[in-house]
Every structure is written in C-alpha cells, then in structure tokens.
Symmetry: none
Subunit: 401 residues, 2 copies
C-alpha cells in the first residue's frame, strides 16, 4: 500500500506545525541479557515527560527483519514506500556528498584502479590511494569533455569518486564496468535496456578519454564505474502532503535525501543546539520540520554503548526548546536501530513517540524499546508515520463518505 494513494487526495491545509526529530539509529539492544538498551539507560526526563502525554510505538523501517541503509530508512520516515522507491547506489553517493542531481541526471560511483601494461586490473582500488592524491586526480577528470553532455566529477575518499552525466536521453540501467576481479581488463559499460543505450555509449567514451588522461599515473592509471543510477523520481512533500517542508541537518547525505522529496534545506547549523536555533528562526516559514541528529547512529556503529547513551541525553536536553515552540505534532523517532551490540544498522523496530492534543495517550510514563513495543501506536511500518502526523495535525480529510 502506497500511503500517497490516499494522502495526495485527502490532504488539507491549516496553520499546524509538525516537527519530526530523527535520531539516526535510535533503537538499540542491551549489551547483556536482562540489561537495558542505550535509550533505556539514558537519563531522559524530557522524553519521558513527552511519553506521559504522548503515544508511542515501534516503527518498522521496511518490513520485519530488514535493516535499511540511510536511503530507505529516511524514505520510509518521509512516507515513501522504501520497497517501491529505490535510490540507486550512484544517486545515493552523489546525494551523500551534497551534489544536487537534477531530473534526468545519471550518477555512478567511480573507483580509481591500477592497470598493468596489458590493460588488465592489477589493483581494484589503486593501492587505496590516499585522498590527498586521488582528490586532485578526480578534479583533473573534469577536463574530459563530451559534446552535448555536461559531466561532473566529484572526489569522495581514497580511491572513490562520483561522476554525474547530464544531457538528453540518459537512463541509469547500465552494467558496472568493475569486473570485481584482478587480472582482467575493466568491462565495457553495457546497457540493460534500450533507454540506457545512450548512457552506455557516453560512459564508454568518457572512460576511454579519462583513462587516456590518467595514463601517466603510477597507481591510479585506470578507473571503473559502478552503480549507475538516475535521480529517483520522488513526488514532492508539497504534492503528496500539501506541506511546505524544511530540513535542518548537519550532514550532506540527509540534506540530499530531504532535497529529493522537495524539502528546503535551511540554516547552516553544525550542532544540535544550532539546529534548534534554526528551527526557531524558521518557525513561521514552514509547515513541517525534519531535524536530523547523526550521532546516535555513529556511536552505535562504533559499538560505543556509553557514548550513544550520552548522545541520547544530549538529544533529550533540547526537547524542551522544541516543545516551547508549541508544535501541533511532535515526533521523536529514528530511521532504523543501530545497536551498539551489533555495531551496525539493524531491523529492530525503532522507538517512536508522537505527541499531539488528539494522539490518544497510551499511559506509558517512560520512553524506550520495551514500552514502545507495547505502545498505543502498536508496531507499524515507518511509511505510515507521515499519515499519522498529518492526521494528528488535522491535515487529512475523511476517506469516502
């Protein structure tokens, strides 16, 4: 079920304000049997105060058992079915470094590699060439021109870069040129369908010219392209929800994901406190605010239970500043769980709290994994969270008479 099938028709407008505070990777696990999770361990007087007047539940990012990346994790929270809408690898990489893909653009991830005298791959990652060396090389590749197309090359890290092709008639269904092996030459770019034929031709021309340009390099004298992907065609927040939406994030990836659904990127906050200042400063200009907090995920990925607890406490501390703005609907959630115990994204339902004057409080007095599993929102697919947000904001008309 695509929620937009109904929200597109049913949404109405009013003066309500919706705030979605996303603590990346919020959900966790106990480190030992019988223990508490990171969220349950944290001192969280303000989240618990919200729990008392709100309703909680477990948000299932995709479906039970599926651990999502940042792309599907956020698409779900934004109400876009993460199985229906895919952001291809190249497009996600471009988005993640802050490149503004336009409709029709095709992005691919690039790897510098080492070719031997016969043109066969000797090292698929060019000896993990350091960023200081690979960056200038990526910039030099901007000199490769193909008439009729704009081509953007952006450094990433070590042997990696991104290339974006812009021009008429391009499509992303093109096979990787990385053979995933050494001792063989890079593959030609081959189109999987007729619509991608032009893209494959342009890629092969570009690869040939770029490889010629790299000929004098010792380590990075070749390259491969992977994960060709067009900019995903996502309907906008304005179209499917009637919401003027703002993204207040620190990292390019989350700004990029928000931009793909038509949010404005506001402010230049570098800290959570500055993000809340940005929220207050833009309060009158938007209906919906997506605030992204990264560090609950990164500490979880590091397996640093105590650091994740501290980050949750940092999040808890800013809650009163959000509440003071009197949002009609305040949601605290995450795009997925990142248990320190697993040091990775996981499939576990994400503790999610929703507060509004008509949310039907569920009587819980604390906020955590266990309470949310038994909360009034039950366990629900993340893609329905936006529908719940709109309903609680009085922004959805009745379905059918």
């Amino acid at each position: 079920m695509d929620p937009h099938q109904l929200t597109r028709e049913l949404h109405t407008r009013n003066d309500s304000k919706i705030v979605m505070l996303v603590a990346d990777g919020l959900g966790g696990l106990p480190m030992t049997p019988g223990g508490n999770t990171e969220l349950e361990t944290a001192k969280r007087p303000n989240l618990d105060a919200l729990a008392k007047i709100g309703v909680q539940g477990g948000s299932i990012p995709v479906f039970p058992g599926i651990a999502p990346g940042s792309g599907p994790g956020h698409l779900g929270l934004f109400g876009y079915d993460p199985v229906k809408y895919l952001i291809g690898r190249g497009a996600l990489e471009a988005t993640g470094i802050g490149f503004h893909m336009q409709p029709g653009d095709v992005a691919a991830r690039g790897n510098f590699c080492t070719l031997d005298a016969a043109g066969k791959i000797a090292d698929r990652r060019a000896g993990r060439i350091p960023t200081e060396e690979s960056g200038p090389l990526a910039i030099r590749l901007r000199d490769v021109k193909i008439p009729g197309y704009e081509i953007f090359v952006e450094p990433v890290k070590e042997h990696r870069f991104v290339v974006v092709f812009r021009g008429a008639g391009l499509s992303g269904n093109v096979k990787d040129t990385d053979p995933q092996a050494t001792g063989v030459p890079p593959l030609a770019a081959v189109a999987h369908d007729a619509a991608s034929q032009k893209m494959a031709e342009v890629a092969n021309q570009w690869i040939a010219a770029a490889t010629k340009l790299l000929a004098g390099e010792k380590k990075a004298n070749g390259l491969t392209l992977r994960g060709f992907a067009a900019r995903p065609n996502l309907p906008s927040y304005e179209e499917v929800y009637g919401l003027k939406a703002a993204c207040i994030a620190v990292y390019p990836m989350y700004k990029g994901l928000a931009r793909l659904v038509g949010m404005d990127i506001v402010g230049k906050a570098q800290t959570l406190s500055e993000q809340i200042e940005t929220l207050a400063a833009n309060w009158s200009k938007y209906d919906f605010f997506f605030i992204h907090f990264k560090y609950t995920d990164s500490t979880g990925e590091d397996g640093n239970f105590d650091a994740k607890v501290k980050r949750i406490e940092e999040l808890d501390a800013v809650v009163p500043r959000i509440s003071a703005l009197k949002p009609t609907v305040l949601i605290v959630t995450g795009d997925h769980s990142t248990p320190s115990f697993l040091k990775s994204h996981s499939w576990h339902p994400v503790p999610t709290l929703l507060v509004s004057d008509c949310c039907r409080p569920d009587g819980h007095a604390t906020f955590g994994e266990n309470t949310s599993a038994r909360g009034g929102l039950g366990q629900f697919k993340a893609k329905y969270l936006m529908t719940l947000a709109l309903a609680n904001a009085g922004r959805l008309g009745k379905y059918g008479a």
Copy 2:
C-alpha cells in the same frame, strides 16, 4: 493483500453462528490529558465479562492515520479492502436513502439550483430550499422520460436529491455538472472514458428536459449532478465466505451497505432491543449476523461525551441477550472511532473484542482503548477481522498442505 484471495478457496461450512456487533464510531479519546475515553468511562460489566474470556485488539479501518467514512469503514469490517473497493459518492448517497441499486445502474447526487435569466447559476443550493418544497419537485422530475432507460429520482433533503439511471451500456466515469461557482452556467456532463459516453449523453438529455420542467420555479429552476457512480461490483458474502448473512440495522445507509455484499436485510427493528429480538427470531436462518448500532457515532459527532458514554452502557446492557443465544463467535467492534473530543470520525484504532472457545484469551479483564492497544489481536487492519471470525468459527480450511 485481498483476504478474499484465500477465503474464497478455503472457506468451509458448518453450523456455527457468527455475530458482529458494530457500535458505529465506538473508539474515542479522553477530553482532558490523563482522562479516560468514553468506552473506558462507561459502566460495562458485560463487555468486561466478555473481555475476560475473549481476546481484544485495535482495528485499523484503512491504514494508520486514515479516518474513513461509513462506506470504507464498513467495507473494511466486512473484509473488503477499502482501498481496492470504492463506493462512488452517487452510489453511496443512493444506498444511504435505501435505494436498491442493481448491477449496471449509475447514480448521481443532484442539487437544485437557481438560474438567472441568462441561464447562469445565481445560487448553487437554490436558497437552501426547504425539504417540503424540494421533495415534491424531485417527485415531479420522475415525469422526465428517456426512451430505452429507466430513471429514478428520489428526494433527499433541502436542495438535494438522487437520480439513478438504469439501462444498457451505462458507466459512471462522468464529470460533475456543478461548476462549483456562481455566475456561470451548469457544465455539460462529459465522459472521462469511452465506456461512459452513453451515460453522459443520457444525463445531458435528462438535464435539458428536467430544467425545462423546472422553468417556472422561482428558486429551484435549475439543477446540477455530481458524483456519478455505478453500483460497486462487490463479491458476495456467500461467494467469498460461504456465509448466509443477515443485516439487522435501523438506518438505510447500513442496510444499503450490507445489501451491496449480499446480506439479507431482516426485521424492522427501530431500537437496539428490537434488533436483539430480530436476532433471536432469525437465529436458525443465518450463519452470520451484522448488528449495527448508530448512536455511539452520532453522540460522538455531537461532541457529547456523556451521551456517548450512556449509549455504550445501553449497548453493554444487551450483551447478555446475545450471549444467551450462544454464538460460536461474538465480535464487538466499530467501523471507526468518533471521539467526542474531535466531533468527527477519526483514524484511531477501534477497540475490538472477539470471543470464541478457541480465541486465545489475552488476560485483560476490561475492554477499552488502552487494553485493546495491548490486546492479543494486536493492531490489525479491519479487513482481516472477517478472516479471524471465520477461523474462530471453524469455517476456514488449512492453506496449503
């Protein structure tokens, strides 16, 4: 997922009896933070007694956040996916006044309007002409004849009426003739697809003749048609469940909805007590009984918390009379929530109770919003309630070997 995909093949027959007691708009909200809902406030010794031996859960009418009208609300309870099966506005209006639409019929909602000398709409609602004046006018429109078609005109209220077209080759995909503005003439009926071409032509002929007939009227000298809709094509209870089903309702709308899925309308009860008498009198003749109680919704719509509480207590009082008949499966639910706090239908899960000798009781001792949110049925889409009913009645075979 369409539950009928499996029930159609798996249903079996036995002597079991299923009773579905629908308290319209049953779910509610507290009026103040920390308070109880209408159901939680009501004295409900009999419902609580059922809770002790039954299993409860939260029924989600459509999907999270979607508040349904009576049409999709009841289709869900009847096990028909309310997103897949739509009852168009005209068909619902005809159903609501008790008109028996036949397959192939197309219904539209009519408005009397006031036209100026130039034929432009001066008042879209004919000055909200009183029913005593508009009713006879609607009856007069029955004099308009179009060869090859039967046309039914039924008064509704004030400026509103219903017209139903019957004849070969009609289809409901026709644009409204109401321009939603004054100072412009009514629009012509225009078909959205080839299959509806004939319907548009017949409608335009009918409108021209009807307008001529109204020419002498001061206020209602014109009309517009909206919400053209064919009778929805719903498979019957007999086909998808193997159930001989009876509807015991007071209001035409609910009888009409039940008729659309092939239920027999039994009795002429005007009160809940008479409905239970009708149930007892027809006990041996049917497998399934849908009992509809309206007043939990209407009191909620009025925002009258106390009156809704009283209506729930009225419902509670008849429960022993149903139990005395020893139904194999007894379900108490609602088609949606109608919190007095919101004075409207809402999206909140509906407290739902199921009792059978194999229901797996969940240990709750009371019945309400909070217990049902944590009940043994979890939170589930309403469309699965009939499958649960059949299973508890021993009427579903095993799926696969």
